[in-house]
C-alpha cells in the first residue's frame, strides 16, 4: 500500500529548510538560530547534503530553502544548488547579500537557482547596519539586490520587524518597489532563540503594532498585482495563536547544519524530544516514524480546550516552543490564545517588555565552545 492510500499516514512534506551553516557576517539580535551555534567543523559535508536533497525529493519535498546563518559562507553552495536542481527541487536562497559577488551570483543562477530572498534589517543604512552590527552592510545589500534583478532572478525582500524599525514599514515598501522585488515579507520578530534573549529590546508597543498591521494591509491592497506582500504577524498581542509551521510535522522540516532534523527552528528547546540525524537515519524514516515528529502531530496530543475548539485544524494548537517558553510546558495551550489561562500574563509581559530600554545582545558564537 502506498502512502497515498493510507489515511493514518501523515502527508509528505512540501518544504525543507536546509540550514547549511550557522556562520554569518551579520549579528542580528533576533536571529532564529539557537543560542548555542554549530561550529564549522560540525557541519554536514557536501556529499551528505546532496544525499539529503535526493531523499527530500524522493519523500515529496517540492521546495528547498537554503538558509543559515549565511548559506554563501559555504564554498559548495553552487554544487548544492545544482544537486537540488537535478532533483527537480525548487531552490530559494535566503541570504544577507553581503558576501556574494556578481560572478558567484551568476554561477548560482547557472546552477539552477530559482529565487533569492534578501534580508534587510531596516530601510536605511543607520538602522540596518546597527541591527546587523556590520558597518557598510546596507550599501552591499542594495548593490546585491540590483545584481539579482539584473541577472534576471526573482527577488524577495525580507525584513524582521521590531521596536527599532517598526516605523519604517512604508519605507520598506518603497525600497522593495525601487529595487524591483516581486515580493516583500514583513515579518514581525518571533520570540525564539536570540529574539527571545532580546525580547525586552525588541518588543514594540501594542498601539504601534496595530498601526503597522493596518499599514501593511493598505499597502497590500494598493499594490496587488505589483508587489506580493506577506506578513508574519506579531502574536504576543494577538487573541488567537498562529498556526505555527501550519502544524507540527505537517508540511515542512528543518535540517540543522549538524544534520539534526527538526519540525521547526526552535524545537530543540523542548526537553525530552530526541531529534534524529541525517548522518544515521533516512529523511523518510525521520518524517514518518520518529517519536519527535509524531509528538505533536495532528490533534490527539492537544489539551481538552484545543481538542474541543473549532479552530483545532486551523491553528493546529499554535506553537509548542512558545508554550514551553512562556508556560514551562510544551504541551500546554499556546498562551497567546485568549482561552489560555496564561493569555493575560503574556499580554502584560509584552507591554512591560515594550517599555524597557535594554541593549541588544548580538548573535555570536559563544567563547566557551570556541
Amino acid at each position: 500500500m502506498s502512502h497515498l492510500d493510507d489515511p493514518a499516514r501523515p502527508a509528505p512534506p512540501l518544504g525543507m529548510l536546509a540550514e547549511l551553516t550557522h556562520r554569518c557576517p551579520l549579528q542580528c539580535p533576533y536571529c532564529s538560530n539557537p543560542l548555542e551555534l554549530t561550529r564549522k567543523r560540525d557541519e554536514l559535508d557536501t556529499a551528505t547534503w546532496q544525499r539529503v536533497f535526493a531523499e527530500a525529493a524522493e519523500l515529496g519535498v517540492l521546495q528547498v530553502h537554503l538558509s543559515g546563518g549565511e548559506p554563501a559562507a559555504r564554498p559548495d553552495l553552487e554544487a548544492l544548488v545544482a544537486s537540488c536542481a537535478e532533483q527537480g527541487l525548487y531552490t530559494n536562497l535566503i541570504t544577507a547579500g553581503v558576501n556574494i559577488d556578481r560572478a558567484r551570483l551568476e554561477a548560482l543562477a547557472e546552477a539552477g537557482l530559482d529565487h533569492v530572498q534578501l534580508s534587510v534589517q531596516g530601510a536605511t543604512a543607520p538602522i540596518n547596519d546597527h541591527l546587523a552590527n556590520l558597518p557598510g552592510a546596507f550599501d552591499k545589500k542594495l548593490a546585491f539586490a540590483r545584481e539579482v534583478t539584473d541577472v534576471g532572478l526573482p527577488l524577495t525582500l525580507n525584513s524582521v520587524i521590531h521596536r527599532a524599525n517598526l516605523h519604517q514599514i512604508p519605507d520598506l515598501v518603497e525600497l522593495a518597489l525601487t529595487l524591483g522585488a516581486r515580493r516583500l515579507e514583513i515579518a514581525h520578530a518571533q520570540y525564539y532563540g536570540w529574539a527571545l534573549e532580546n525580547r525586552a529590546a525588541l518588543m514594540p508597543p501594542r498601539e504601534q503594532v496595530m498601526e503597522a498591521l493596518a499599514l501593511v494591509e493598505a499597502a497590500r491592497e494598493r499594490l496587488e498585482g505589483k508587489l506580493v506582500i506577506d506578513a508574519v504577524v506579531p502574536d504576543y498581542y494577538a487573541r488567537l495563536p498562529k498556526p505555527c509551521m501550519n502544524g507540527w510535522g505537517r508540511q515542512s522540516l528543518n535540517v540543522t547544519p549538524a544534520g539534526r532534523v527538526l519540525p521547526c527552528h526552535a524545537a530543540e528547546t523542548i526537553p525530552g524530544l530526541t531529534f534524529l540525524n541525517v548522518r544515521e537515519h533516512g529523511l523518510g524514516e525521520i518524517w514518518y516514524d520518529s517519536p519527535a515528529f509524531n509528538a505533536y502531530r495532528g490533534t490527539a496530543w492537544m489539551p481538552d480546550t484545543c481538542q474541543s475548539c473549532e479552530r483545532r485544524e486551523i491553528d493546529w494548537g499554535g506553537c509548542r516552543c512558545q508554550a514551553l517558553a512562556l508556560t514551562g510546558e510544551a504541551s500546554q495551550m499556546d498562551p497567546v490564545c485568549e482561552r489560555s489561562p496564561y493569555h493575560d500574563e503574556v499580554q502584560t509581559l509584552a507591554i512591560v517588555d515594550s517599555k524597557r530600554d535594554d541593549d541588544f545582545t548580538y548573535r555570536r558564537f559563544s567563547r566557551q565552545s570556541a
Binding site: 519523500l59 517540492l62 525548487y90 530559482d114 526573482p154 516581486r182 515579507e185 498585482g225
Partner: protein
C-alpha cells in the same frame, strides 16, 4: 473575478515568469505551480490550461486547442481561461509577454 484584474485580449501571449515552475507532484498526485515561497496545487482544468502556456501561443490559440480537445463551447472556455489567467497574473505567477 477581481475588478482590478487586467483585461486579456485574445492575441495576448502569457508565460510563466522566471522563478515560477510547473511540475508534476508525484508524492501527492496532480500538478503544482511552484513560486517564491508558495505552492499552488492545480486542479485538472488549470493544469490543462497551463500545460498550453508556452510563451508563444496566444490566448486565442490556447482556447481553440482546449475547445477542440474537450469538445466544449469556445465562448465558455474563453471566459474561464481569461478569468483564470488574469487571477494568476494578479498573483504574479504569470506575466504577459
Amino acid at each position: 473575478m477581481n475588478p482590478s484584474a487586467p483585461a486579456l485580449a485574445e492575441d495576448a501571449i502569457v508565460r510563466l515568469p522566471r522563478g515560477v515552475r510547473l511540475r508534476e507532484d508525484k508524492a501527492r498526485g496532480g500538478w503544482v505551480l511552484l513560486a517564491p515561497e508558495r505552492v499552488f496545487q492545480l486542479d485538472p482544468v488549470a493544469r490543462e490550461v497551463l500545460a498550453r502556456v508556452d510563451g508563444e501561443r496566444d490566448i486565442g490559440a490556447i482556447v481553440d486547442d482546449l475547445a477542440a480537445a474537450f469538445a466544449a463551447p469556445r465562448e465558455r472556455i474563453l471566459g474561464d481561461v481569461r478569468a483564470m489567467l488574469a487571477d494568476l497574473i494578479l498573483k504574479q505567477v504569470l506575466e504577459v509577454v
